[in-house]
């Protein structure tokens, strides 16, 4: 009598419950953590842009400092 109940339960858990669980978290992981190709390229470009702007800014600050040595105090 018990076997009749246990067998469908085990089969249900094993073949429906577990794949469900795995696929559920797999899809969530895929939607949450992935960075698309466009995101990656955009981030690369922004990072490069920020680096170049910072270099330019540093050289501009150096030029201003050569022009007026105590400009940082006045700002």
């Amino acid at each position: 009598m018990e076997d009749i109940l246990v067998a469908p339960l085990v089969v249900g858990i094993l073949f429906i419950g577990l794949p469900w669980l795995v696929l559920h978290y797999l899809t969530r992981w895929r939607t949450a953590a992935t960075l698309t190709r466009e995101d990656e390229n955009l981030l690369d470009e922004l990072h490069d842009l920020a680096r170049r702007l910072e270099d330019r800014m540093t050289s501009i600050e150096r030029i201003i400092a050569a022009d007026d040595p105590n400009w940082k105090k006045g700002a």
Binding site: L43, A50, M57
Partner: protein, 126 residues
Amino acid sequence: MSASRTKFYLDKQNAKWLGVCAGIADYTGIDITWVRVGTVIFTLLGGFPWTLIAYWVTAWMADNKPYGLYENKEESDFWQGVRQSPARTTRDVRSKLRDIDRRMAAAETHYTSRNSRLAVEIDNLK
């Protein structure tokens, strides 16, 4: 089209065997020694056939790291940060741009206020 920098690669340049541990270290930024020691300890503590199987499957499925994927250390570190947390890296880039904006504004005010100072100096000469 360059290769993806957010993928897992086998790191053959730093490999001891097939480059899986070196790849994990390169991907996550964890020190390579700890990855190897951890793998060995985990294998000895009862993961015996499974870690080996996982190692082989990973070595079989993953691509080799393309040669010259990063131009320099700074770039490689940056992408390691992206893999760890894209949100944090994006915030870092934004704060960098804001910092540049602030410095730019300081330079601008310096030049606009300097003109008035120059005018005062010219007045004094009269």
